[in-house]
């Protein structure tokens, strides 16, 4: 961080406008795929230049400097702040929470330091339940075995220790609604011990870090239960292969061994899900599906490709909730147990 400031001072001493160079996290040209890691940023990645003398970039230049100064103080004083704290510290400068979130990730990428080491925390949105106990960094013991209430995913994954679990598998659930349904049906107690976790849609970093931590600690199969639509498949790919935006931290965020349990496009035909609960693909769905099929990681997954081609051919999508049209408890009493028992995953 000192080098960045020294660079700015040096530019000014030479009568030149300071420029900040941020790695370009949104270009596919900067990403490569490794089957053991997932999507990761190339070492020779392109950068975006923020010039202090350009009206189009000077605001972002100032925002980056401001957050750098906040981070510096946090690290110096060994205190922590959330991204929300940073935003509310100067809402006029930042404009929106999304701006702060993006810049914190940019700084993390630029300094090649995980966000936690910048002393910036993110509020977790994920939930976890099942056969799992662990201790937080502050010594608080967390027991996820309650059948009535799920536990919020910790905001300090790196500080978790003493993980105890006899789970035989872990299920990543795309949606909170599905997660709650499994909770209501006591899913974790009916089958062999397991852990279920949800990021409530596109997962935040802590949810992804938690899944990775469980994989590193427990080495049990990890399944994904997502809607049979392009959005659900993309969310599943984020857990498995990572995202473009966070590719610089792929090693700590991805779990390449994740398997697709359901809802598979082929399940819709096989189970004869009623057509009135099937939804036609929109133009955006078709575009996203085509884009997913061209992603570098799918060449390694011919079975996933086949499923996606089924979806392309039938031109329909379905939510997991559509299984309730067969019978109300079909998901937890028949579908999932049979899938897990007879290897119905790809």
């Amino acid at each position: 961080l000192c080098y960045i400031i020294l660079g700015i001072v040096t530019s000014l001493s030479q009568d030149e406008a300071p420029v900040l160079k941020l790695p370009n996290r949104s270009s596919w040209a900067n990403i490569s795929f490794d089957s053991t890691v997932g999507l990761q940023m190339n070492s020779g990645h392109s950068v975006t230049a923020l010039r202090s003398d350009s009206p189009s970039s000077v605001n972002k230049f100032a925002q980056v400097l401001k957050i750098l100064s906040v981070i510096y103080r946090l690290v110096q004083s060994n205190t922590y702040a959330t991204k929300r704290d940073i935003y509310y510290n100067n809402t006029q400068l930042f404009g929106s929470q999304a701006t702060v979130d993006s810049i914190v990730d940019d700084i993390s990428c630029m300094l090649r330091a995980p966000r936690r080491s910048l002393h910036v925390l993110a509020t977790s949105k994920g939930l976890i339940s099942g056969d799992l106990c662990y201790m937080e960094e502050d010594g608080m013991r967390i027991d996820c075995r309650s059948s009535s209430a799920a536990v919020p995913v910790s905001s300090n994954i790196a500080g978790i220790r003493n993980i105890v679990s006899s789970a035989k598998f872990i299920i990543i659930v795309e949606k909170d609604a599905t997660f709650q349904r499994l909770m209501d049906d006591d899913f974790c107690t009916k089958l062999p011990p397991c852990v279920i976790i949800t990021g409530k849609g596109v997962p935040d970093m802590n949810s992804r870090l938690m899944v990775r931590k469980l994989w590193d600690t427990l080495h049990v199969p990890i399944f994904a239960l997502v809607d049979s639509d392009p959005h659900g498949i993309e969310i599943m790919c984020i857990y498995k292969y990572g995202s473009m935006a966070m590719s610089f931290e792929a090693h700590s965020l991805t779990v390449p061994s994740v398997m697709w349990l359901g809802l598979l496009p082929s399940d819709l035909q096989r189970l004869q899900v009623p057509s009135d609960v099937l939804i036609p693909l929109t133009k955006n769905d078709e575009k996203k599906l085509s884009s997913l099929l061209q992603r570098p990681y799918l060449t390694d997954q011919p079975d996933w490709q086949k499923e996606m081609e089924v979806m392309q051919r039938t031109k329909v999508k379905a939510e997991i909730q559509s299984l309730a049209a067969i019978s109300p408890d079909f998901l937890t009493n028949i579908y999932l147990p049979n899938k897990l028992r007879y290897g119905g995953w790809v």
């Binding site: 000192c2 400031i5 001072v9 001493s13 009568d15 003398d53 000077v58």
Partner: protein
């Protein structure tokens, strides 16, 4: 150059203004003036260093003298500076001829072609702050000769212009500020009040020149004598013509000025954005340096800026940042660029002092001697 105004004070300023205005819009003509008063002989020359051709609604293209000798206070190193201007051909306003002018023999299709020029050109310095020093309106008859008598219409015009809409809220105009000299009306502004350290020491004062070219199309007027007589009529009735078309004139001028000052107003917004960001950049950077426990880092920062402590660093950092961002140069092929070396000086070459009793005009095509 000898100042001869003390010999013939009354008409010298008018003569100078006339020749200057004439030369501005007839840049293809070089004017050599020799003044002989008793034993004293002084020679002057009016000519354009930088010319720009414009095609108006006229068979003869307009050649404007867009030379600009203004140089700003430039700090330090050699910089590109545009020594010319970029006139913009504006709208053409058709005006009606009042009945009593028609009774006197003034017929035809009369119009006013607007041409505007913002000078000096700072297009190569998109972040440089500008202030508007004055707005000059210059009226020319169809032969492109400056109208000698400026209509009173222009004295009252400021009252009808919406300066807030133009974004020149520091431009105060009253009749006493309106200088009228040989076809030129000048509305001057008050200098902006100092507002702290951000007040731009590198700001450039610009003036707006609005050329109003009267044009008459009359198929029954072709002989030179008829043309000259018609132009006399136009000048004689110019006040009435303008008053007869007051609303249209005001709207047209407002529109021309708004278009011309759009760039100036954009600069104001850019400057505000850059200044606001600079404050954050300065405070954040100095905050990191000040609370750093890394002595090498602090020493390096102080040494590079050639200061002794963080207080001096803050001042030097801020000044340097404002300077490099203000003087960001984006060269343009269309500018008449020359390298100028900076001094802490503001030089404006104003007009010549002359007293005329002997004219010598020469052009590429013909020579006039008066």
């Amino acid at each position: 150059m000898k100042d001869m105004r003390h010999l013939f004070p009354e008409w010298s300023a008018h003569m100078e203004a006339f020749l200057r205005s004439f030369s501005l819009v007839n840049a293809e003509i070089n004017i050599h003036l020799t003044v002989k008063v008793d034993q004293h002989t002084v020679q002057y020359a009016f000519g354009a260093k930088v010319k720009k051709k414009l095609k108006l609604f006229s068979p003869v293209p307009l050649k404007l003298d867009v030379t600009c000798n203004t140089q700003p206070a430039i700090y330090g190193k050699e910089r590109c500076w545009c020594l010319g201007g970029h006139p913009v051909c504006g709208s053409r306003l058709h005006v009606s001829i009042p009945p009593h002018a028609m009774d006197q023999g003034l017929f035809g299709d009369l119009s006013i072609q607007f041409v505007t020029l913002l000078s000096p050109c700072v297009l190569q310095y998109p972040n440089l702050a500008t202030h508007i020093s004055n707005i000059q309106l210059m009226v020319f008859n169809p032969s492109r000769v400056p109208v000698l008598k400026v209509p009173r219409f222009f004295q009252t015009l400021p009252a009808f212009l919406d300066f807030e809409d133009l974004g020149v809220d520091t431009l105060h105009c009253s009749s006493k500020d309106v200088q009228q000299l040989c076809g030129t009306s000048t509305y001057t502004s008050e200098p902006p009040s100092c507002s702290g350290p951000q007040q731009e020491t590198s700001a450039v004062w610009q003036r707006v020149l609005v050329f109003l070219f009267l044009q008459l199309t009359d198929p029954f007027t072709s002989q030179l004598t008829d043309v000259m007589a018609t132009e006399v009529l136009i000048e004689r009735h110019l006040e009435d013509i303008l008053n007869n078309n007051r609303h249209a004139m005001t709207v047209a001028l407002q529109s021309e000025l708004r278009n011309t000052l759009k760039a100036h107003n954009c600069r104001k917004k850019i400057k505000e954005k850059l200044n606001s960001a600079a404050e954050v950049i300065l405070s954040s950077s100095i905050s990191i340096v000040s609370c750093s426990s890394n002595l090498d880092f602090r020493r390096d920062c102080l040494n590079r800026m050639k200061v002794r402590d963080t207080q001096e660093l803050s001042a030097a950092f801020g000044e340097s940042l404002r300077r490099v961002t203000s003087w960001k140069c984006v060269p343009r092929h269309s500018c008449y660029s020359a390298k100028v070396r900076g001094m802490f000086a503001y030089r404006h070459v104003s007009g010549l002092v002359l007293i005329c009793c002997h004219f010598h005009f020469s052009t590429d095509e013909r020579t006039f001697r008066v």
